[in-house]
């Protein structure tokens, strides 16, 4: 079998898994299946929510460990779900490896392989901006370095998280539903990354959005979970509208949405497509889509709320895979962004202003948005006390980093960070899940502490991943972050570099703060919880260790070339995904001197070191663990309040857009609809009825009167007529003549 034979199966397995799990779940919960009322199991679901929603006010996601163990009813088809879910994902991993393997054998990774399945939407001939080819969209998958990278870690990490979920969700009554959704997510995500054209990418794009919605709202009985799900979906849709505009611009420009054809056309004659800022328009529209999916300013607020979903979901969807789809898409469309950048430089001349760049250079916009998001999210992360919220803001911040990389046209570096981040952030989230699991649902770090002895595996794996994300040398995050920082500086964006460097420092700080607050010092929660603290089962710790090992080693595929010549195999591997543009559209390579590279690297190490040092000094310097932080908070109360409350962005959006524009606007229009638009209709009715009354009166008085009058007059006339009947012929003859005369006159006058 060839690579193109394996390719379609990769998303199909999870789809089958979804169908099996979903149908089994429905059968188990339906009257049709002959099982008795679903109410039985639900009553006990309620007990869960109550049982531990009560322990603290915060949004915890984890349905009842500890307390309710004895009360668990059988989960129908549990063992089937346990096997089907992870195996569907696992098979997809196997087939991904097979496909990549045979693709490598066939082309050594130099040429993409496209498997076209069927024609999806044939639209016929349409006049585009540059000609009018028949336009149709195929259902087709594409394997090239970018998608190979993505399917590799998506299926691998996805499978690990499936396995983890067996343990984590083991007591949840919606076990089957959970695996159905998780499988569906895998299907959508793999469709997204394998899609050979923008429309299929969009299928996956919307699909992952749907699964994210379903999984965030997994504990749908709780309002905040349902709210968070809806918020995520709607915010994503705003982005999607932008993405669609970009897609349509591509249709109008290229008459196709096939990646291969579009990129070839664009790379062959960039000047045509760049003219007048067309390409910049398309890029910016696409990037709006990316800000939605990858939670960038201004559409970032949904991601922290998304933590209402079960923790494996946070790890898989909201850290490792789905949220990086925006970065993937930008990297996928790298030709467009490069063209937009060169066009901006050509148009703006030697010394472009920042404003000029922002309005002409889409890649610069990406870099700026990414850099600012990274910084802002990191500041928010400093003050969060919910363990998952810290990680969520950290994710937003790291995604900003990836966009910064892409924005400075270092797409390889951006994707490298996508890759390394997937490992350590998934590990961190799963670790936090393990912590929450151990503490029967507790998520507030203020009620943790001293856990490292009780849950050693969780501690060690999380610690490793924290070293990775903080950018400690020789861990994976170090290599990818350092590349982005370095490229940002070398490509001539010192301000963004400062921003990113500060972000790196803050990242190291808040991550070590998390570790210290969770695992060190004295335990600060209720005693009975402490007694129940236990390490998670092997289904959870084994995936943790897998990911932690990855968090150490996956960085070694991208060792900077100045350290080890040819060390950056990662970038070399991705090379064929970055088509070559004509020489006059290719920027002069920025060659950094070795000393500069070394300086930058040492700088980023130093920054991480400062962050770590501060965090260790800050928390638990002695007997009063929070004395120093409290002093700082007291010194800057306002700043703290703003950061702690996420700059009130949510409140702002809620007031202006949700309640203001949409709900108030909707109500206003509804009033208008009922009173004015419909008022006219009803007014017409009343008018008609009124007129009818008038005519009725008129009818009775005049028309009917006239009719009666006519009758009367006939009677009168009859009497008179009788007198005419004289019997004299000349009288009749006169009458006839007069009549004819009158008719002729009428004819002459009117004809």
């Amino acid at each position: 079998m060839t690579a193109s034979d394996f390719l379609p199966w990769i998303p199909v397995f999870p789809l089958l898994g979804f169908l099996v799990n979903g149908l089994l779940y429905l059968v188990a919960h339906s009257r049709l299946g002959g099982k008795d009322a679903p109410l039985g199991s639900h009553g006990h679901g309620d007990a869960h929510a109550a049982g531990h929603g009560a322990s603290h006010g915060g949004p915890d996601d984890h349905a009842g460990h500890g307390g309710g163990h004895g009360a668990h009813a059988e989960i129908p088809f549990k063992s089937l779900h346990t096997w089907v879910g992870p195996i569907a994902s696992g098979l997809s991993f196997v087939f991904a490896l097979l496909a990549i393997g045979s693709w490598w054998k066939e082309t050594h990774g130099h040429h993409p392989i496209v498997a076209t399945l069927w024609t999806w939407i044939p639209m016929g001939a349409n006049a585009g901006w540059f000609g009018s080819p028949d336009f149709s969209v195929d259902v087709a998958f594409r394997l090239d370095p970018l998608s190979a990278l993505m399917i590799f870690f998506v299926t691998l990490i996805g499978t690990l998280i499936h396995v983890y979920s067996v343990g984590y969700m083991g007591h949840d009554e919606g076990y089957g539903r959970f695996f159905a959704y998780l499988n569906l997510f895998m299907f959508a995500m793999l469709t997204l990354v394998l899609g050979a054209n923008m429309a299929i990418l969009f299928v996956g794009w919307e699909g992952v959005g749907l699964c994210s919605y379903l999984l965030i709202g997994y504990y749908y009985k709780k309002d905040f979970a349902a709210d968070a799900g809806k918020k995520a979906f709607v915010m994503n849709r705003i982005g999607d509208a932008g993405f669609l505009m970009g897609l349509f611009a591509c249709v109008a420009m290229f008459g196709t949405v096939d990646f291969g054809k579009m990129f070839a056309a664009a790379a062959a004659s960039p000047a045509i497509y760049a003219a007048g800022g067309l390409m910049t328009f398309a890029c910016l529209a696409l990037f709006v889509g990316a800000t939605g999916k990858s939670a960038q300013i201004p559409l970032f607020v949904w991601l922290p709320d998304a933590m209402a979903g079960p923790t494996p979901v946070s790890a898989l969807i909201h850290a490792a895979t789905m949220v990086t789809a925006g970065v993937y898409m930008v990297a996928r469309c790298n030709v467009f962004f490069r063209i937009s950048h060169e066009w901006a430089l050509k148009t703006l001349g030697e010394n472009p202003t920042v404003w000029g760049l922002l309005t002409h250079d889409a890649s610069f916009v990406v870099a700026v948005v990414g850099g600012i998001t990274a910084f802002v999210a990191a500041t928010i992360g400093l003050a969060q006390t919910d363990i998952k919220k810290v990680l969520a803001y950290s994710t937003v911040s790291q995604l900003g980093y990836m966009f910064l990389g892409c924005g400075v046209l270092a797409f390889g570096a951006g994707m490298f960070h996508v890759f390394t981040h997937a490992w350590f952030k998934a590990c961190l989230f799963l670790g936090s899940g393990s912590v929450i699991h151990a503490l029967s649902g507790e998520q507030e770090m203020t009620a943790m502490g001293g856990l490292r002895k009780k849950i050693p595996h969780t501690f060690r794996t999380m610690f490793i991943s924290t070293l990775a994300i903080a950018g400690v040398p020789f861990f994976s995050g170090f290599f990818s972050k350092d590349q982005i920082l370095g490229e940002t500086f070398v490509k001539g964006h010192p301000v963004l570099w400062v921003l990113a460097a500060l972000t790196a420092g803050m990242t190291a700080f808040y991550m070590f703060r998390l570790i210290k607050m969770t695992f060190y010092g004295e335990y600060r929660g209720p005693k009975e919880t402490w007694d129940h603290v236990h390490e998670s089962p092997a289904t959870m710790t084994v995936p943790l260790w897998f990911l932690a090992i990855g968090a150490i080693f996956v960085g070694y595929v991208g060792i900077p070339n100045f350290l080890v010549p040819g060390g950056n195999r990662f970038e070399a591997f991705l090379e064929p995904s970055f088509p070559v543009l004509p020489p006059d559209w290719t920027p002069h390579p920025h060659v950094a001197s070795h000393s500069l590279e070394w300086t930058l690297m040492l700088a980023s190490i130093a920054i991480a070191g400062v962050g770590i040092l501060l965090a260790t000094k800050f928390f638990y310097p002695g007997s009063a663990p929070f004395a120093l932080p409290e002093k700082v908070v007291a010194a800057f109360p306002k700043a703290y309040r703003w950061v702690r409350n996420k700059y009130y962005v949510d409140e702002f959006y809620e007031a202006v857009f949700v309640n203001g524009l949409v709900k108030k606007g909707g109500r206003l229009l509804w009033e208008i609809d009922a009173r004015v638009v419909d008022g006219v209709v009803n007014g017409t009715r009343h008018l008609t009825v009124g007129v009818s009354h008038v005519s009725s009166w008129f009818d009775k008085t005049f028309v009917d009167g006239a009719v009666n009058g006519v009758g009367d007059s006939f009677q009168a006339a009859y009497k008179g007529y009788g007198k005419l009947q004289s019997g004299q012929t000349q009288n009749y003859a006169f009458g006839m003549a007069a009549g004819v005369f009158a008719l002729v006159c009428i004819y002459i006058i009117f004809a």
Binding site: G124, A125, G217, V681
Partner: protein, 543 residues
Amino acid sequence: MNFLLSLLILLPTAGALAILFLPRDKTGAIKALATGVAGLTFVLSLPLWFARGFRESAGFLFREDLDWIPSLGVRYSLGVDGIAALLILLTTLLSVISIYSSYTAVKTREKEYYVFLLLLETGMIGVFCALDFFLFYVFWEVMLVPMYFLIGVWGGPRKLYAAIKFFLYTLFGSVIMLLAIIALYFFNTTGFLWWKGLGNAPSFDILHFHQIAPLIPADLSLWLFWAFFLGFAIKVPMFPFHTWLPDAHVEAPTAGSVILAGVLLKMGTYGFLRFSLPICPSAASNSRVQTAVVVLSIIGIIYGSLVAMVQKDMKKLVAYSSVAHLGFVMLGLFAFNNAGMQGGVIQSINHGLSTGGLFLLVGIIYERRHTRQIADFGGISQVMPIYATLFMIILLASIGLPLLNGFVGEFTILVGAFLANWIWALFASFGVVLGAAYMLWLYQRVFFGELKHEENKGLEDVNLREVLTIVPLILACLWIGVYPKPFFEMTAPASAKIVAAVENARAAARPVPAAVAAAAPAAIAPAGAVPAEVAPAADVKGH
């Protein structure tokens, strides 16, 4: 000669007559007969799907042509192109589903109820088949009567208000349309007012009117266009002629809403693409007219969505979502390119499936609780998981999730709109966002959260019959979502012809420089196919 279309038209009426002879208390037999007849009609309509001719040309197939009122040139002339055939299939499918869904919902005057539903089916199929304006008008009006009674007799508390409003409003539109038809008739023969006639033999032949369309002077074309517009825009309904719709939907029985949304609204869009565009192409292609209609469509999309957002009654919410969806359809039709036109046609079908499905689903819950107020629900996915799943799938189809039908339609429409004017697509895409917002909010308030209301705790999940009414719709949604190619192929020639008619009129109105003219044929490629497709009227009559 082929009598398939006549059979489809008459079969439901025959069924209705047969039901009249059944005793009133034999409700089981009445239901079975009604379902059987509708089912048979559906099966008999299937050859329309398999006819290869639609995929090859824009011509009208399954022609029937008989003298009816020779002195006026009125003929019993039937025939369908790919678009009409698809709409007939939708009609027969939704008819059988809505009859089958009424078994427990309607408990009074069942006999008359099913008689009216079957008569309605006759009218609807007739409208899509008629190729004679007189005949078309007859069916168009015939359809109103059963619908009027369905709302007025089996409707909700304000049924009389809604029924009369529905009837008068649409009647008003049709009378204006009738004026346009009469004007066309006189233009074709003797002429009237200051317009000189063509001096042809009296005729109501629609295909003939398609042919003489280029001869219609610009000012008359404009008058005709707006007259037709009023008739069809009320039916669609377009903003600001939409207010009859929410009332009619809310008061109508479930089956009535399904048919209303699924088929009756499509009469409006069908009218546009069968009459307004091919008969008045010079008016339609006038960029001011086009912009006016497009702006109304876009207002419909955004306005309908925003108003849907704040509705407290589920049916009203779905009704306003229809206004938004049909705004999309109209936007597609008036983009005047293949993508938009085909998208509009496909989306007409999609709307019938998904909104019809939504009304069915709302009906199911209404039957159990006798309320449609969103506030009376909450958390019911706990007691009705299957129902919740079905609802979710149909809802996703409605908000245009890829791999379900709504996306295919919206996507193609937006491509068409973007190619015509990207600003249109930008505004319309707000509708995509709002659509997700109001639908998901509805879903959240009805299905998620705790079971707050005591009455809802005992709700029974859907039964087999109810599942069977929804599943065909879901399958159709999936089919169009995953493999819409046959649908596109079926409608491509017919829609290309309409686009070409408008494009030709535009090209005729604006003499183009030679250099551009050379490039133009590529842009309007299907134009060449047009004259050959329209069989001369005389020819047709000869058969």
